[in-house]
């Protein structure tokens, strides 16, 4: 996965300025929110894909950065005290051994979390449970954060959809709306795989490109794949949507991304649209719908 992601990013997302890179990444996410907010199925798929991406990125953060994100997401999970740890240490060890993980050491950090918050860990018997609490290892914390991320994104999508339906769709009927609506019904486009040059496309041309169809699975990265000029992308997004979303929420939900992309922690990872084959072969650890929608979509 890492290698694939690195190649794809290098091919499509490079930009001399780090801040531009971050903008492109963030902007494309919000554009995709717009396209994918409109039906239950689209939302479900987008949530799945985006959460998988989030998980992947979060894992690459340092322990410090991860802890900071936890706090930022306001996950009020209690770290287990040394005394509490001693009392359940043998059980924690059993769990670790049962899932072939590293054994808890004296300085291991565990979080005590209501079991409802970590359904995946519970389902896989990957945590010790006692009296309604799950004892989550630091390396499992990804699950916690991803669940919160997904939940925040899900609420945002619902809000986006509401706003789209109530005002934006009408307001934009001559500009954005045809593009957005065409994108959801369009069909397979060219193969946006590694190494292809991409022509520059301006806002005016998007109509045509959209009509020529985009692959369903490519749509979530259409912005990057098509190589929309950054200025246009900013205008496209900012004018219509970023005001409504608000800078705060933007920051909050993208805290991890901002830190990550500034290269302050973790290693910088490149992203590109996945090719059809790659998506089909991907087996992420989570999500009802993943990989190639043609293969998995009902």
């Amino acid at each position: 996965m890492e290698k694939l992601v690195a190649e794809l990013w290098k091919a499509n997302m490079r930009h001399p300025q780090a801040s531009e890179l971050m903008s492109k990444d963030i902007i494309s996410h919000f554009v995709l929110r717009l396209v994918y907010c409109r039906t239950e199925d689209l939302r479900k798929w987008f949530l799945s894909m985006e959460t998988a991406l989030f998980r992947y990125r979060f894992r690459l953060q340092s322990a410090e950065a991860q802890r900071a994100v936890l706090a930022e997401f306001q996950l009020p999970y209690k770290a287990v005290t040394a005394a509490e740890f001693e009392a359940i240490k043998d059980k924690l060890t059993l769990v670790a051994r049962s899932i072939n993980q590293t054994l808890p050491a004296a300085d291991s950090i565990f979080y005590e979390v209501p079991f409802q918050e970590v359904p995946e860990l519970v389902a896989g018997r990957r945590v010790f449970l006692s009296d309604g609490y799950a004892y989550v290892a630091m390396n499992q914390v990804v699950s916690l954060v991803a669940t919160r991320f997904r939940s925040l994104l899900s609420k945002a999508l619902t809000l986006t959809n509401r706003k789209w339906m109530s005002t934006i769709r009408e307001q934009e009927k001559d500009r954005l709306t045809p593009i957005v609506e065409a994108l959801s019904t369009s069909y397979v486009g060219p193969d946006y795989s590694v190494g292809r040059e991409f022509g520059e496309v301006s806002l005016k041309d998007i109509d045509n490109v959209a009509k020529n169809s985009f692959s369903l699975c490519m749509r979530h990265l259409f912005d990057k794949g098509v190589g929309l000029k950054l200025d246009d992308a900013v205008a496209f997004w900012k004018a219509e949507f970023s005001q409504k979303v608000g800078a705060e929420r933007f920051d909050k939900e993208y805290a991890y991304s901002i830190r990550h992309n500034y290269g302050k922690e973790g290693k910088r990872v490149d992203y590109t649209p996945y090719s059809c084959q790659k998506i089909i072969s991907l087996t992420p650890s989570v999500g009802d719908h993943h990989g190639c929608p043609y293969r998995h979509f009902r």
Binding site: R97, S98, I99, N100, Q116, P119, L129, D131
Partner: protein
């Protein structure tokens, strides 16, 4: 209708089942059922349970709560009535007595009265949806048919019933110790299984995803026609939940009970079935060879003897195969670990039969089971419809009133239901309601500015 008439039969009411009293010990027929609903079915208790404290006078009580609960009736001719709801205990009683359903199912509490759901269909925003539902489990002994040899299909006997007992113990302990649930009701399904209702507020508010997670936590057996080995315990150790289940319940069940009651190693075919679960061919060949010789041991303890052979061979350390580490436990789990119907637990809108219904095929009442004494529960002595009516009849027509059930064998079940389950549950609901109300009051006081 008077009891004598039902038992002796009036001409115009003679139907096939009328002679049921003599022909079938169960005595299930619509007339008897009608009497049961008239005299014995505990409407008040079901109503109080389903109200979860909202039938009181406290300002926090939600008067609409009970009426948003879905019930369904299956009538005599298989007609199925769904999305029924009632506004009060008297309406509930009236509805049941009028329709005389062969089966009553309980569904979720919806956001709006299910009977009025169509009024909300237009707004398109998913307004009609389940908002609360007990966490439920359904264990049916036919799901163990590949490992029980004493009966098959609809039958159940005292040789295989211990599988249900074990299931109750394993699941009940986990629900309490691992998940922290307190208000758990186990009910006999009337024929060949058990149902579980987890009624804590925390449980009722679980999402489908959380329910699925709990069901998966409990899942060990992955049966299908194709795989020989249906239980696969990978990893260097067992999860503490599985360890506890094994050491406290399943190991003994298998070794002390099932080995002999199911005669697990008594024939070549049966032995082969176990040998197929061993992933190392050299091990199974060794055992097969040894057993074919049949030199030592009498027929009496052949099962115990062969089990010892198997354990010894697998645990001796001579064979170091990858899949052998947990093979002994896997075999024990295959024969004894609870097999839940996953679909029942995963969805909030799944319906489940109400306690105190009468099973049409057996005539037995779906009575609660005490998990603390579940090893004493005997499905073959559960009160039947005709038995109850006989008891009612012989008790004399004197004392009419709410507690007719007290003059019958049903009394014990209703009293247990109340003292062990209902009263503690309602007490807890009251406390929760009051504390939530008080903290809301406090919040609004704090936020008031003048």
């Amino acid at each position: 209708m008077v009891i004598e008439e039902a038992v002796n039969g009036r001409d115009d009411m003679l139907i096939d089942g009328q002679m049921a009293d003599q022909d079938l010990p169960s005595g299930f027929n619509p007339n008897f059922l009608k009497l049961y609903y008239a005299k014995l079915f505990p409407y008040g208790d079901i109503f109080r349970w389903m109200s979860y404290g909202n039938d009181g006078k406290h300002p926090a009580c939600d008067k609409s709560y009970f009426s948003r609960r879905e019930l369904s009736f299956t009538l005599e001719n298989d007609i199925y009535l769904r999305f029924l709801s009632f506004n009060s205990v008297s309406e509930l009683e009236k509805g049941i007595r009028e329709k005389c359903p062969f089966k009553i199912d309980i569904g979720p509490v919806y956001s709006v009265d299910p009977a009025k759901r169509h009024a909300y269909a237009q707004s398109g925003e998913n307004v009609f949806k389940p908002v609360e539902r007990e966490l439920i489990f359904d264990i049916d002994i036919t799901d163990y048919d590949d490992v029980r040899y004493c009966c098959s299909g609809a039958d159940v006997c005292l040789d295989c019933w211990p599988l249900m007992t074990a299931a109750i113990r394993v699941i009940n302990t986990a629900l309490r110790d691992d998940f922290g649930f307190r208000h758990i009701l186990w009910v006999y399904s009337g024929r060949r299984g058990v149902h579980c209702w987890v009624c804590d507020g925390k449980a009722r508010r679980l999402t489908n995803e959380q329910r699925a997670a709990i069901a998966d936590y409990f899942r060990v057996y992955k049966g299908s026609e194709n795989s020989k080995k249906k239980v696969s315990l990978t990893g260097h150790a067992l999860h503490p939940f599985l360890v506890r289940s094994y050491t406290e319940v399943l190991k003994d069940l298998f070794e002390q009970t099932l080995l002999s009651s199911q005669q697990i190693f008594s024939t070549e075919d049966k032995c082969e079935k176990v040998l197929e679960m061993i992933p190392d061919e050299s091990v199974s060949a060794e055992l097969r060879g040894r057993w074919q010789k049949r030199s030592s041991g009498s027929k009496d303890n052949i099962n115990a003897v062969r089990w010892e052979h198997l354990k010894h061979t697998l645990q001796s350390g001579r064979h170091k195969g990858q899949g052998l580490r947990r093979c002994v436990e896997e075999i024990v789990f295959s024969f004894s670990y609870p097999r839940l119907d996953m679909e029942v637990s995963k969805h909030m809108n799944h319906l489940l039969k109400a306690p105190f219904c009468v099973h049409p095929k057996t005539g037995r009442v779906c009575v609660p089971i005490d998990p603390a004494h579940c090893h004493e529960f005997d499905p073959t002595t559960v009160p039947t419809l005709s038995q109850l009516l006989q008891e009612l009849n012989s008790g004399g027509m004197g004392q009419e009133g709410d507690n007719d059930w007290d003059r019958t064998s049903l009394g014990e079940s209703v009293r247990f239901f109340r003292s062990s389950f209902l009263e503690p549950l309602l007490k807890s609901c009251k406390e929760e309601m009051e504390s939530a109300y008080n903290s809301k009051l406090q919040q609004s006081k704090n936020s008031m500015t003048w």
